[in-house]
Symmetry: C2
Subunit: 213 residues, 2 copies
C-alpha cells in the first residue's frame, strides 16, 4: 500500500482503505458477518483470488479484520471485522448515499447481489412506526436472496431467507432498489417488472429520515 505522505486525516485514512477493492471487502464482511474466504470471494465478483488474499492480509495487519481458525469439524478460516473495521460503516453509508445517483441505469454485464440492494434502505430510512410490530421484507433478485428487518425504530439487512416474510419483492434489481429507496413509486416499479407478494403496507415503514450533514 503506497502512502500519500500527508499529515491529513483523510489522506491517512485512504492510506489504509484507499486501495482498490479494500472498501468492498469491508462491505462484504459487514453485510455477511463472519465468513470464509470463498464467501467473501463470491460477494466480490471480479476479484482475483490472489488479490483478495493480499487484501485480507493487509486488513488484518491494519487491525480491521481478524482471522480465526475454526476447530474441526469445520476446519476452516473465518474472517470477521474488528470494532475498528465496523467503525467504517459511516464511510460506507456516506459513499453509498452519494453513489445512489448512479444506480438509475443498469448495465447488462453488471453483477448483482440481493444483499447489496437490501443494504441501501438502512442508510437513509428510519422505521416510520417504531412502536409497530416487527416486519420482514424478503428480497429476491438475480437469483440471490436478502432480508430487510424492521422493528423498534431500526432497519437492518442481512443475507439469506426469512421463514415467514411479511412481504416478498421479486424482480429486476433496478425495480427492487428503486422501490426501496423511493426513487421509483409502486406503479413505476411494477412497470419495470416488480412482483409483490404479501402485505405491501409494510413499505410505508421505510420512511426516509433526515440526511445527517
Amino acid at each position: 500500500m503506497r502512502r500519500y505522505g500527508q499529515y491529513c486525516s483523510i489522506a491517512r485514512a485512504l492510506d489504509v482503505v484507499g486501495d482498490r477493492w479494500t472498501l468492498l471487502v469491508v462491505r462484504e464482511l459487514l453485510l455477511r458477518g463472519p465468513c470464509r474466504f470463498t464467501d467473501v470471494k463470491n460477494g466480490l465478483p471480479g476479484i482475483a483470488s490472489n488479490l483478495l488474499s493480499t487484501r485480507l492480509k493487509d486488513l488484518e495487519d491494519s487491525g480491521l479484520i481478524s482471522r480465526e481458525h475454526a476447530p474441526p469439524p469445520i476446519a476452516t478460516t473465518i474472517y470477521q471485522l474488528t470494532d475498528n473495521g465496523r467503525a467504517l460503516e459511516p464511510v460506507l453509508k456516506a459513499v453509498g448515499l452519494w453513489g445512489l445517483q448512479y444506480m438509475t441505469h443498469e448495465r447488462s454485464d453488471d453483477a448483482v447481489q440481493a444483499h447489496w440492494l437490501a443494504y441501501a434502505p438502512t442508510w437513509f430510512a428510519a422505521d416510520a412506526d417504531p412502536d409497530g410490530p416487527a416486519a420482514v421484507i424478503q428480497l429476491v433478485a438475480a437469483g440471490a436472496e436478502a432480508v430487510i428487518e424492521i422493528g423498534g425504530g431500526q432497519i437492518a439487512s442481512r443475507v439469506g431467507r426469512a421463514p415467514h416474510p411479511d412481504l416478498t419483492l421479486t424482480g429486476p434489481p433496478r425495480a427492487v432498489l428503486g422501490l426501496l429507496t423511493g426513487m421509483i413509486d409502486l406503479n413505476g416499479a411494477r412497470k419495470l417488472g416488480l412482483t409483490l407478494h404479501g402485505r405491501r403496507g409494510v413499505l410505508a415503514r421505510l420512511r426516509p429520515a433526515a440526511n445527517p450533514a
Copy 2:
C-alpha cells in the same frame, strides 16, 4: 478508470471517485474554493503533474468539477466543484473522522498544510455558543496558515490569514490538531510546543457534537 461492474451503490461511487488521488483533489477544491492548476498541485504534495491533469479531466467528465477560462488579464483556467462535487463533503467527513485515529503520530517526512488541520473541527464540533459573537482562530503550522471561523452555530475553515484573529495557534501540527480535536488537552499541547496568542476562551466554542450514525 477501471470499473467494478457491480450493481451496488458503493461500487458505483468508487468507480467515479475511487481512483488514487481523486478524493484528495476534491478535498483541495472544497477547502480552497475555485483555484488554478498550480494551486491544486501545491495542495497535493507528491502528485505528478500529468496525473493531476488526467484526474481533473476525469472529474470534469464525471460532472464533479467545472473548468472556466478566466478572461484577461487573468488568462488562466479556474477549477471549481459542481454541486455534485460538493455533495461529496459527507464522504470526506466520514473518512476524515475515521482517519483521526491515525493522526496520533507524525512521520518526519509527512507534508503538512495548515488548512488540513483547520478542516478537522468542522466534522464533529458544533459552535457551543450559537448566540455568541463571531470568533476567529488563526492557525500557523509548518509555515502555512489557515483560519477557523465560528459563529451562528456554524464552524467553517479556509486557507489564509485573518486580519484580527481572536486566537492564534502556532506550533507543531500534532499539537495544533490535538488541541482542536480535543485529543490533547491544553497542558499536553503546550508540552508538545504549542504557543497561544489571544483569548484562549474561544477554544470552548469548539464542542464536539453528537456523531451522526
